[in-house]
Symmetry: C2
Subunit: 755 residues, 2 copies
């Protein structure tokens, strides 16, 4: 690190830690020189197109606007040489030469695509999450990117919502830990370093609670629920030093997030102390017109006054703020404040020191898609898989068996990367068929497609918006199944790779029916009917409703969408080179009618028996148990783990004291393996209805076959706190019950008293 870099790093550090009044002299000096038009120009984020747009608008005349000082940043431009062209336009041809922020959607790996975030979260491995995002930053910055529109930390409890794939699941505690790890991975300790980029925490706020699981739909919840359940990951990302926030498309308390002053100013800045800048989502400022808040000038003024600093693509700020200023609808101070925050981010990124900092033409080859990166992606993928069922210990397979590899996703390169991997390259992905050959080269593997992902051409058309994901075979479904069955009968074991094509989840990919499509259900049943052992490799970007499949005598390995090393990683696990250790980070319902369903639900005043036995006048359904098919935290291993000797170090503690829980975990099976030891807490009595239990600690531990370890997890005073009716973060004295175990149904428990 050069001396100058160290100086900037120290300035940054002190800036983030200082009070809001502290100013960066270089930025203040620059502000002095700027016209009002130039200040407004910095608030404008454009995309010249070429990448994948997530809205209907793509920016026009970008070059001229950069020269005119009307652009604060770009996204959708990559590669040192291309970015240099844009950066030179800003630095050399605009009046003040202010460099551009260069943003990108690096959601799960830049070129070395790793599992979709929901899959990554299933690793419960914060070190791996940080390594993954570090790698993403190293690759993206090598390509000229200095700002990343990630992490998405939206809590999601509705698997109909396609974008559940892009987050870390349902839990605020786990979500917070992952948010922190991702911010650290992207930003490192020095935002000006060549391999780090600004993180952008999205989508602020509550985007994951879209009504009826329909993307972009309205959101509504009480403040108490926000603070206790939905806001913690945003706050955790902020506390980890996140440099920017992105607003969400939805309304919060009836006001679109992009124009919500309570959200962007009262909460984010005044209460939480955020000092970075806030960018809108793609045209979300303009979309406030459709929300019913006013015309473009009105919503732009509203957004600025609410605390929005940068307008993505919509040019509402660019085209109306001057007029609003002239008409007294906004103040120069408001424009200056927003501009200052954008400039401060550029300063902190080291762009003022060297606008070409990220533009080393040699770096892409050195840093992108390296052997090491692909090895990490393979490891990340293997760690993300969740073994849902393993009838007769079918898995792992021996490498000397004759395998029928079947299914529409078994040899489908187009479906390996997963949703929203615009920087990845589908052609580089390893299919399962290839992976099996790589890992078990001496095994006989025969392949048949067996079924289309879906037989419905209308549905396929919607899913294929970014490329061919569902390719409907010219053969009839019956012929395909027959071929697969014949192959199965001629094999020792069947591996069926089924589930969702990538764009069946993700943004604007909500489903009202989240079962496996009928075409594949028929295939699965036909394969099971052969009597051959069947392992299902289930690919999806969300929990699926699989009650029938789960009843079949099969093994089920949930692999999400694993990324560029998909096939290799799946083969690693299927053949036992890696013993699966993933755990679900979102509850799997039995059916859509149970939604929303999540483990930290309230007890209600008329709780149904935990046994799921029906009792009239209890809170239950006539036609379904209350329990999910698979609980949060669930995941099997090829080995078995036993928990014993659970104890707390104290029977009672005072306010502000910690308490430690210790449990012995033994690997009693026949494989080495990793276990995620989970700790849940129930606040027995408090002033607002407590959840039945809440995750408050976990540890991922490796145990050799036959090994046992004593695991200690310490609860901090904050772990016993919650937001009360007055939204104060407090702990209330009384009894707490602590549960420890292998998933959120953990039954080993101890109680203590908080005095």
């Amino acid at each position: 690190m050069s001396t100058k870099k160290i100086v900037i790093a120290l300035v940054v550090l002190s800036f983030w830690r200082a009070n809001a009044q502290q100013r960066i002299p270089e930025v203040e000096a620059l502000l002095q020189k700027m016209t009002i038009e130039e200040k407004i120009g910095q608030l404008n984020l454009l995309t010249p197109g070429g990448g994948v747009a997530t809205g209907e608008v793509v920016s026009k005349n970008v070059e001229a606007k950069i020269k005119a000082g009307q652009v604060g940043g770009l996204f959708g431009v990559a590669g040192p040489d291309k970015v240099r062209v844009a950066q030179e336009l800003a630095v050399k041809e605009s009046r003040l030469g202010i460099p551009l922020l260069i943003g990108s959607d690096v959601i799960h790996g830049y070129k070395t695509t790793y599992p979709i975030p929901l899959g990554l979260s299933a690793s419960w491995d914060m070190e791996l999450v940080e390594q993954a995002t570090q790698m993403a930053a190293r690759e993206a910055t090598a390509d000229g990117i200095n700002w990343n529109f990630s992490p998405m930390v939206d809590i999601a409890r509705d698997p109909r919502w396609g974008r559940i794939a892009e987050g870390a699941g349902e839990d605020p505690y786990l979500g917070s830990r992952i948010a922190e790890a991702m911010v650290k991975g992207y930003q490192g300790n020095d935002l000006a370093a060549a391999h780090t980029m600004l993180a952008c925490v999205k989508h602020f706020a509550l985007y994951g609670a879209a009504e009826a699981g329909r993307d972009y739909h309205s959101v509504d919840m009480s403040k108490v629920k926000m603070f206790n359940q939905y806001l913690p990951p945003y706050k955790a990302a902020l506390d980890a030093g996140a440099a920017s926030f992105m607003t969400s498309f939805n309304d919060v308390d009836g006001i679109p997030a992009t124009g919500n002053k309570w959200l962007l100013t009262d909460l984010l800045r005044d209460q939480w102390g955020f000092k970075g800048f806030v960018v809108s989502d793609y045209t979300s400022l303009n979309e406030m017109i459709a929300h019913g808040l006013g015309d473009l000038q009105a919503v732009s003024a509203l957004a600025l006054k609410a605390g929005l600093d940068m307008d993505m693509v919509g040019e509402g700020f660019l085209t109306t703020l001057k007029k609003s200023l002239d008409e007294g609808k906004v103040t120069e101070e408001e424009i200056t404040s927003a501009c200052r925050r954008v400039l401060e981010a550029k300063y902190i990124s080291g762009l003022f020191e060297d606008p070409y900092r990220y533009l080393d033409s040699k770096r892409p080859e050195k840093d992108i898609l390296t052997k090491e990166n692909r090895a990490l992606a393979r490891k990340l993928a293997a760690h993300s898989f969740v073994l849902l069922k393993n009838e007769n210990q079918l898995l792992p397979l021996q490498k000397n068996k004759k395998i029928a590899l079947i299914g529409p996703l078994a040899d489908s390169r187009n479906n390996m990367l997963g949703t929203w991997a615009p920087t990845g390259d589908v052609s580089l992905a390893v299919t399962i068929r290839e992976g099996f050959k790589n890992v078990a080269p001496n095994t006989t593997i025969q392949y048949a497609k067996g079924a289309n992902v879906s037989d419905d051409p209308e549905f396929a058309k919607k899913v294929n918006v970014f490329g061919p994901r569902i390719e409907i075979d010219r053969r009839s479904p019956e012929v395909m199944v027959e071929e697969a069955v014949a192959l199965a009968k001629n094999s020792d074991v069947v591996v069926a790779v089924v589930g969702e094509a990538t764009e069946m989840t993700g943004e604007a990919a909500s489903r009202t029916d989240i079962s496996i499509p009928d075409s594949q259900k028929k295939l699965i049943q036909a394969l099971v009917n052969t009597g051959k052992p069947v392992a299902l490799v289930l690919m999806s970007g969300r929990p699926l409703t699989i009650p029938e499949e789960f009843e079949l005598p099969v093994a089920i390995l949930q692999v999400w969408h694993p990324g560029v090393e998909a096939g290799n990683a799946i083969a690693d696990v299927v053949f036992g080179d890696y013993n699966p250790s993933g755990k679900l980070t979102v509850t799997w319902p039995r059916n859509v009618g149970q939604i929303p369903i999540y483990y930290s639900t309230k007890n209600t005043g008329r709780p149904a028996p935990e046994s799921d036995e029906f009792q009239k006048f209890r809170s239950n359904y006539l036609d379904s148990p209350n329990s999910p098919l698979l609980p949060f935290g669930y995941g099997l291993s090829y080995t078995q783990f036993e928990y014993s000797d659970f104890k707390l170090d104290k029977q009672s503690i005072g306010q502000g004291e910690s308490i430690s829980a210790t449990v012995t975990v033994a690997n009693t099976g026949n494989f080495d393996g990793e276990e995620v030891v989970q700790l849940y807490v129930k606040d027995m009595v408090r002033s607002i209805t407590p959840p039945k239990r809440e995750l408050k600690g976990f540890q991922k531990v490796f145990l050799k076959k036959g090994e046992k370890k004593e695991i200690t997890i310490t609860l901090s005073p904050d772990d016993l706190k919650f937001y009360n009716s007055q939204l104060e973060f407090v702990s209330e004295s009384g009894e707490f019950e602590v549960f420890v175990g292998t998933n959120s149904d953990a039954q080993l428990s101890q109680t203590f008293i908080l005095k």
Copy 2:
């Protein structure tokens, strides 16, 4: 009316209208004489059992407690002679002789059961609703009842929730009008009159928004949503003079309603000015223990301090308040206030003047189940039916056809009354088979059951908790279908009566799957396959998901659960003696995955086209249109109505001014008929996201064949108001669009400006 009665009526009137400080001298004098134990005794509501309990507890030692002055009211006791026994215990054997309130669940008729409330609401006929509840009051008071646990005014937008059957559907405006009509019907103008009873508005508040449609589950929403969408009907019932409120089982903002001071005191009394008393729901006070709020003493104290006056069945007040008083956890003033409110209700009911006021042994025979009452019930039922589809104008049937009457509900007396009719008598109900014979005595009607309501004995067991509702035939399903098909083939037309048994909806009867059970779906398909014309008479307590059935070439008449005159009313409509005029008061989804779905949804920032065409990056689903199967307000007639000449009387108005909409409606078909002319308003721009449109007026109009009428609906200033972010009830200047038509998809529109 006697002079004394007039005096009481005037006192009552002035009491309700006066400020909170006004006292009733008789009550104050009584309070002076009461010990603290006697005051606490008045807060205790017991049920001696015998009726249908809706919880697990039934009161014990009721007689001794009444004598000891430990009981304020009873329910589950009926008949002048039986009630007299109880009342005499209180009046003659307790120290102060305070009479008892005698409550009952008269939900849709007392003995003369009329349609379930969701069905009644579909009449959109406020005069009929008032007549219905007047009749219920006349019958109930004849049987000694002076207090009714109705109306249930909970807005419900989740058809999984079984108790949607008991309310008026999804809309706050319509729900408010119905709430008013029901309160007026029960209470009349004089609560001391012998034929009126106290209404009890339930369930305060938000009970209809139970999470995941599971009864008793947690509720969560923003204050803005509460005030604009869920609270209006409670407020309307209060403004109509409702004498009592019942708390709901759920929590509101994390605090169970029964102990929620913001709800029961700050909002209900201080802000809304409620002067009556508040009773808990069945053991809902005790259930705060399970909610996690504390032990019985703690939750009892919390509830009293929150504003609860009477404890239903749980005896938490009776057994702990004295202790809490001694320990300084509640004040005597709090106990006295609650007691005063209970005593005031008794005073207003005229019970102090004559405790035996409602105990005339001759009244039951004179007032209950009279010919007139049954005629009204028949009329109410016919008016509640909604014609969903009428392929080839199949309905009405001619009386000279050979009819195959088929289906598990066609001859099922046990399923006619509908949910929660504990005072009704199943044996009096007219089946459809009987009704057809009554109305079309010369028509050949052949009957076959055709299918079980459900073939699942486990499901049947849950549904049969109050009696045999699903009776599984000894014959196989195949044999039953075969018999029905043979009958169909041998007939001119098929009428299939299918749907839900009564206890498939109602309290603690939520379903995750709201389709027609498979056994009946198979029957329907088999009948349609015969090629004979098929009319489905669909019986249910909720919207069902019927996308496949709706595509069939059939007529569908939705009849809810029609009450004691079910068969006659259905025959009246099927044979054309009454032309159906009902309109849905709740949206019918295509599938469970669309829930919640309701017409007054927000536009969002990325609205999908109204055409339901899929567009990427719009708010929609991959696998389902956004539109429901059937919109709110929908319902066909045997005739056709045409709308024309829609105009507003002004182009712009000032704050506080009214505006009138006029439209010409013509009956252009071949039958006389009634139409519900509906008017919806969209606030184009406002400070919080507006609903796409909201019902703000309607008129039910009768038009002879060929007749046309000019209909005028006036919008009051309040109709343009909403609760803003600060929860102020305001109108904001700007453009409004007004729609008029036959349902909530109405397309005729005009705009005006509010200055």
